[in-house]
């Protein structure tokens, strides 16, 4: 009798990327469950300040890097007051940099003034880091529930808010299914490294279709359960606290700070003041 030997690789790396993505999603959302100074504020205040921060950073010209330094105060304050690990934010912001840096590097090639080109390149990178950090910090202090409350506060249509909540909830369920699908495929593909090479395109279609059919069955069961419990088309959003004075003070103070930082180069002014005094 002849035996054929099949090399079976270790299975711990099969669905690593998918498992890491789900774990990162869960971790960012769970940070808002802790009791900190940031979680005591209304999510609408956080949403408004984050948006104003992004607009202010992007409105700042790229002719002086020192002008961006005061903007670091906002993410630093949120991380400190919200007890958010800076390493988590840095790890999530880093993947966003390469494409932006590539486009910014075009300034080094095509701009006539090379020193201005370097300034604009670094300015684009700094803007990318600051804006990405603001969006991630918003999720860390509010969570998806808080973002839904903020959108409801700003009168966003209930259907859209409901879709955000639904999609996020089902994402965790389907994420575990995907890890299972990748593991099952890898164990049956004789050592093909699905993480590195991906699965065969001919098999991806039916696998994708099968995943959708399973998702659909869950959706139908959930829909029936929701109708039995009186679902009328909109997800009820918990109004835990109303927008109050501390929220307004938080928003207005940061708005004033961002306005000043956008119009004037504060470090430059401070430096001139110090040197003038000396």
């Amino acid at each position: 009798m002849r035996y054929s030997y099949v090399f079976i690789p270790p299975k711990e790396a099969y669905a690593l990327d998918a498992a890491k993505a789900m774990s990162a999603l869960r971790r960012a959302d769970e940070l808002h469950l802790r009791k900190t100074a940031m979680t005591a504020l209304h999510p609408a205040a956080h949403f408004a300040v984050a948006f104003l921060f992004i607009v202010a950073v992007l409105s700042r010209g790229g002719h002086s890097l020192s002008g961006f330094v005061p903007f670091v105060l906002y993410p630093a304050a949120v991380m400190f007051l919200g007890d958010i690990p800076p390493g988590l934010i840095a790890a999530r912001v880093a993947p966003a940099l390469p494409f932006v840096a590539l486009v910014g590097a075009s300034n080094l090639i095509f701009a006539a003034d090379k020193s201005a080109a370097w300034l604009s390149f670094f300015a684009i990178c700094v803007k990318c880091v600051l804006c990405a950090a603001a969006a991630l910090l918003l999720v860390c202090v509010c969570g998806i529930g808080g973002i839904a409350r903020a959108l409801d506060f700003f009168r966003v249509p209930k259907l859209l808010v409901a879709q955000l909540s639904f999609t996020y909830r089902y994402l965790h369920v389907l994420g575990e299914e995907v890890v299972g699908v990748i593991n099952a495929y890898s164990l049956r593909s004789y050592g093909r490294n699905v993480c590195a090479r991906g699965m065969s395109i001919r098999q991806f279609g039916p696998i994708c279709g099968g995943l959708f059919l399973r998702s659909l069955k869950r959706a139908e069961a959930i829909h029936a359960a929701m109708l039995c419990r009186g679902f009328t088309g909109s997800m009820p959003v918990a109004k835990l606290k109303s927008f109050s004075q501390p929220d307004a003070i938080w928003t207005l103070c940061w708005l004033a700070f961002f306005t000043v930082c956008t119009i004037w180069d504060l470090p430059l002014l401070l430096g001139n003041l110090i040197l003038g005094a000396v």
Partner: protein
């Protein structure tokens, strides 16, 4: 193809937010006319969004390149849910990607929704893929429709990225070079996306044929035309105030080479000192009227076709 906040200006970001918000409102209004509660479309839309997310975590190998890719999902969502629901779901998926994964930015979300949601759901699907899927036909027709639709959707989306980045004035990258870099790559990605979408749709058609007939009433051209008109109005009426006074690439080259700024030495137009905003609006409206007039004139002048009655 997700745009980051750092690559756009507040003016362009705000404009595209306004356009995307208008499209969202239109889609919600259209969905409000269907009985989405009883038909179970709401949880299905949520699951479809999560499904697109989940499917994006599974990479497939691209033959002949040695690399791998993942599904984008806009065309698949439009085929399964209809263009309006597909657009809403795509915008929610992009919002979650921007918030949780820093994939795109909050201010750039309007641009990403327009590039990745509007073109597949309101241009590619209603004009190319949708008619073929509703008309029936075999797997070959589905493949051709999906590949054409995905190619169109992704190429237009990448063109949107190029135009929005260029209009923002953040980079010195010339429009031609940027377009030459982005469009071919995304056209190739579109072909692969179309093949993968077709494979999934063929499987789903065999398993549950009713799924791919979700859109009983086609979206038509109205939302596409309205969105493009709103875009043009906002760009011409407001963003033009922020237009750069610096010479463009051609003028800069001529200035450096020949020592004068004008490429053609053309004289100044008398009375041509109008404000950019109102002039832009009036000009856009005039172009629209002339184009519509030409279209009507051609239609009237064309000879009517003779209907041949096969029974005679």
């Amino acid at each position: 193809m997700h745009m980051a906040d750092a690559l756009i200006s507040p003016a362009i970001g705000g404009t595209m937010w306004a356009v995307s918000a208008a499209l969202e409102a239109y889609s919600i209004n259209r969905l409000g006319k269907e009985d989405i509660v009883e038909t179970g479309k709401i949880p299905m839309m949520g699951v479809a969004g999560a499904f697109v997310f989940a499917a994006q975590m599974i990479n497939f190998s691209i033959p002949g390149t040695g690399s791998s890719g993942h599904l984008a999902g806009g065309l698949l969502l439009a085929a399964l849910l209809g263009p309006h629901a597909g657009f809403l779901v795509m915008s929610v998926v992009l919002a979650i990607q921007a918030l949780f994964f820093a994939d795109g930015g909050l201010l750039a979300l309007g641009c990403n929704i327009f590039n990745l949601g509007f073109f597949p759901c309101f241009i590619a699907y209603p004009l190319i893929t949708g008619p073929v899927l509703r008309g029936g036909g075999g797997a070959k027709r589905v493949f051709a429709a999906c590949v054409s639709g995905a190619l169109c959707g992704l190429t237009l989306g990448s063109l949107g990225v190029v135009l929005e980045t260029y209009a923002s004035g953040v980079t010195e990258l010339p429009l031609g070079a940027f377009a030459a870099f982005m469009l071919p790559i995304h056209a190739a990605i579109g072909v692969v996306e179309g093949i993968v979408t077709a494979l999934a749709l063929v499987f789903l058609r065999r398993a549950r044929p009713s799924l791919t007939e979700a859109d009983k009433s086609p979206a038509g051209l109205k939302p596409a035309l309205a969105a493009l008109a709103l875009c043009a109005a906002l760009l011409a009426g407001f963003v033009s105030f922020y237009a750069s006074q610096n010479p463009d690439g051609l003028e800069w080259s001529i200035q450096n080479a020949a020592g004068h700024s004008s490429a053609t030495n053309e004289p100044e137009i008398p009375g041509g000192g109008a404000e950019p905003g109102p002039a832009g609006l009036v000009g856009s409206a005039a172009v629209l009227v002339v184009a519509a007039g030409l279209g009507f004139a051609v239609k009237r002048l064309r000879k009517p076709s003779v209907d041949i009655d096969p029974s005679r």
